[in-house]
Symmetry: C2
DNA sequence: GTTAGCATGTAACAAGTTACATGATTAG
DNA sequence: CTAATCATGTAACTTGTTACATGCTAAC
């Protein structure tokens, strides 16, 4: 149930509406925890119901601005310090690798080539993102930068692995 | 809907019962595409219903052995060659990184330390697994080895990243 | 005979996706 | 005035998890 905690986390930075949060999920959080509009609004209603967040302002077009409550902050800290992440690795990319044997070798190598390309593009996209942001010294910046670095290293690793793997298939 | 394709893929190696497949999911496929007993049996029934697999034998204790049909093999190849994997990266581990700013620096570093430990353990577990298997030249071995190499590189990358990240938090 | 492991099935629930539905406000 | 964007909500469906339920067979 991490969507809940993603929302609490974002609201710990500043109050925001469902729509604001949706935009954040579409941009900075998209690579880490994608969420849909319907999911976000539903979860916000639940969070408000259980008192972890509260409506602090109402604007035009029915806009509701939510803010974290003390209970919400406690829950966020609890999640960060007391619960262990589970490496739930479900990987579409890797699952296919197991079954490349049903293809002809050149088809299998095509698949790995597409992974190389995908990794390269992912790398470059993140590079551009890193360059386009002017990083401050605030929490969001420091930790956003760290997450981005992960993405860069991940894509570089995957690219090198796929190149190595293509050589293994004779 | 990759569970479907995972099952088709495993059945492309050899016919198997739900129970056999469950064991495979618990061991070799656990790191890549975990699946529960209930999911597997439900999906096998559906696959048999749509003609992608078929019951080839019945054994003691109601055991049903399934095999891939021609349609099933076609579907498997189609999945491998015509559909692109989506890097659906939903990562519990990384999501937390975004919000480490709500913790005290030493708590944040504790979290990164636990990631270092987790990565190290993951690496060693895979090393042991690699050593315990006697790799043949068959498809399963070649591609299983490639997937395992991914796991090794991934854990090494994550460990180095977490070490670097811990230094960034002052 | 009794325990471990083989073997399947289903129900209830939680989480995530897609699509539908509605309407207000602002900028050009 | 009209199109883009802001803004929320809900229904139907799919996928995944947890728990319950049942019974057979082989080995000791």
């Amino acid at each position: 149930m991490s969507l809940r905690h993603a929302l609490l986390g974002l609201l710990s930075e500043r109050p925001a509406s469902g729509y604001d949060l949706l935009k954040t999920f579409e941009t900075s959080l998209a690579n880490v925890w994608p969420a849909t509009q319907s999911q976000i609004y539903t979860e916000l209603t639940k969070l408000a119901g259980s008192g972890l967040i509260t409506v602090t302002a109402e604007g035009p077009r029915g806009r509701k601005e939510y803010a974290l409550t003390d209970d919400g902050m406690t829950e966020l800290r609890h999640w960060l310090t007391e619960t262990r992440p589970q490496r739930n690795t479900r990987s579409d990319v890797l699952l296919r690798v197991f079954f490349l044997g049903v293809l002809r070798p050149e088809q299998a190598r095509d698949y790995l080539s597409s992974l190389i390309e995908m990794s390269q593009e992912g790398y470059e996209q993140l590079r551009r993102l890193a360059d386009s942001i002017d990083w401050d010294d605030d929490n969001l910046s420091v930790h956003g930068r760290i997450a981005l670095e992960y993405g860069l290293r991940f894509n570089a690793m995957r690219r090198e692995w796929a190149e190595w793997a293509a050589e293994q298939i004779k």
